[in-house]
């Protein structure tokens, strides 16, 4: 009975987690892939590990620590590169290492054994709490409202910032808000896929979608769908094979991407051949 209930709640959690993860990762992922911010997002992810370490050490919620670290480092990098005070990639590289070093030192300094360390690095659906799921659900709602309300401004700002600055005085504000939301999305998804793998949860689905569609809203929708499909498939495989969930989800997504890529190349070649055939008739 107890066993059944536990399994049931585990599946519900997994399902809800997959829904929220695919929505948040689809929206945030399309933004970072289109704006070519993947490296910055990697920096944010690893910098937030510093917050996890300090959270552990100080006895506060590690996700809250990660959120503070993630948002501050994201805004810091945007500011440094905007004001041309430092090269963006160098700033990211330093934050990346600083976050990991801080995390490791503070986890080492925390008395006793840290059973959750591996789950933060590689993700585990088993450690996802109800609070995590609620936070992720709220995040999904916030992102949906933000991106649908300011769709045009965000679209044009990330496509051609210099031009966007001619029609809005709030370009920097929107950039900073978007970046902070991306950082928060990444941090909240760390529970699902872990620091090391979470980035691919955001980058692979939009890359699959962009193989087949060319408008921003469709890329978002298809990212959410492929993200959900991949997450569910990975989740199921990991459950039955008894292998780590995060890693299985990412592996499944990469396999889907590779298959779609091959299909897209095949479709394109076929279309070209048809064109040639028609033109030679």
């Amino acid at each position: 009975m107890l066993q059944g209930l536990l399994e049931y709640s585990f599946i519900v959690k997994g399902l809800l987690g997959a829904v929220f993860t695919s929505i948040t990762a689809g929206l945030a992922g399309t933004y970072i892939v289109s704006r070519r911010m993947v490296f910055l997002s990697g920096g944010i992810t690893h910098a937030s590990f510093g917050g996890i370490g300090i959270g552990h050490f100080a006895g506060i919620n590690p996700v809250a620590g990660a959120a503070v670290f993630g948002i501050l480092s994201a805004l810091g990098v945007e500011y440094l590169s905007d004001s041309h005070k430092m090269r963006e990639d160098s700033a990211i590289g330093i934050l990346w290492a600083l976050g990991m070093a801080t995390g490791i030192i503070f986890i080492y300094l925390t008395p006793g054994y840290s059973p959750n360390l591996m789950s933060y690095l590689f993700g585990s659906i088993l450690t996802v709490t109800n609070a995590d799921l609620i936070a992720l659900g709220i995040m999904a709602l916030v992102l949906i409202i933000y991106f649908s309300l300011f769709y045009r401004t965000i679209l044009y700002l990330s496509f051609d910032e210099a031009y966007a600055r001619t029609f809005t005085r709030h370009a920097s504000l929107f950039k900073y808000i978007s970046t902070a939301l991306i950082a928060l999305t990444i941090v909240l998804n760390i529970r699902m896929a872990g620091v090391i793998l979470v980035l691919s949860l955001l980058t692979i689905p939009p890359n699959i979608a962009m193989l087949f569609t060319r408008t921003y809203p469709r890329v978002v929708v298809w990212s959410v769908i492929t993200g959900f499909g991949g997450t569910m498939a990975g989740f199921t495989v990991s459950y039955f094979a008894g292998i780590p969930t995060g890693a299985t989800i990412i592996f499944t997504l990469v396999v889907i991407w590779a298959l779609c890529r091959a299909a897209a190349v095949f479709l394109k070649r076929n279309r070209r051949l048809t064109k040639i055939n028609i033109s030679t008739i």
């Binding site: 399309t30 289109s34 070519r36 309300l149 300011f150 045009r152 401004t153 679209l155 044009y156 990330s158 496509f159 051609d160 210099a162 031009y163 966007a164 600055r165 001619t166 029609f167 809005t168 709030h170 929107f174 962009m210 569609t213 060319r214 408008t215 921003y216 469709r218 890329v219």
Partner: protein, 247 residues
């Protein structure tokens, strides 16, 4: 009399010595002014100040009717390699030219979309509405950006080196389009290449920190030399041609 754009005693820079100094220029309806000057002469700085992207150190800019409102400017930035892979369609790019009339949460109406389709057709890009920029040639892409600049029917069209990196066939068509637009709007076109634009503009402004205006559309070799512009002489005879200094 009210000009489309009046620039008075304008100086601007980036913290160091001013890049442009004491610039005066009046742009009237149907003017087509070519702004020429060497690299670093202040061409792009002038455009940035007109667009409000850079605050002037001193002087002022007045638009039509004495306003400081920039909603009646259409802008075609320097062509960049840019991100052609970005998931945005031709129609969306053209529509972005209307954002200046909307707030941050602005939506596009049915009329806006209709207007975008008209502009796309007018620029010879019929049927390409739903294409992404990566599927277009460089010249086609530049026409899309011209569409973005003119969709709001601005009174002043600002062009920054519009024909860089495009083939000469495209260039001819492009200038023909500009001549048509010039019937409804003034054009200020920045270029480092006096030879190419000489047969299309109605007048010249030569900029190299300071600005000198030549209403006739002709510049003499001596004038060019004294302003430190590229040494080229433009003549408008029966066959327009450019005379280069001995080199």
């Amino acid at each position: 009399m009210s000009y489309i754009l009046e620039i008075e005693s304008l100086s601007a820079g980036y913290g160091g010595p001013p890049v442009i100094e004491n610039v005066n220029l009046k742009v009237d309806e149907n003017d087509f002014i070519g702004v020429i000057g060497p690299n670093g002469g202040g061409k792009t700085t002038l455009i940035k100040v007109i667009l409000g992207l850079l605050k002037p150190g001193s002087g002022r800019i007045i638009f039509h009717g004495g306003s400081t409102d920039r909603t009646e400017i259409g802008y075609l930035p320097q062509m960049q390699e840019g991100d052609a892979g970005y998931p945005v369609t031709v129609k969306d790019v053209v529509l972005s030219g209307l954002m200046i009339h909307k707030n941050a949460a602005g939506r596009m109406t049915r009329n806006d979309r209709k207007r975008a389709t008209e502009v796309i057709e007018e620029l010879g890009l019929s049927g390409l509405d739903g294409y992404s920029l990566s599927e277009l040639s460089g010249g086609q892409r530049q026409r899309v950006f011209l569409g973005r600049a003119v969709i709001g029917s601005p009174r002043l069209l600002l062009l920054d080196e519009p024909v860089n990196f495009v083939d000469s066939e495209f260039e001819m068509g492009f200038y023909e389009k500009l001549a048509e637009f010039n019937k409804h709007m003034a054009i200020l076109m920045v270029s480092h290449d006096v030879g190419t634009i000489s047969s299309h503009v109605k007048s010249f402004a030569c900029i190299n920190r300071t600005l000198h205006y030549h209403p006739s559309g002709k510049i003499t070799n001596d004038q060019l030399r004294s302003y430190g512009c590229p040494i080229q002489l433009v003549t408008h005879g029966e066959v327009p041609h450019t005379v280069l200094q001995k080199h």
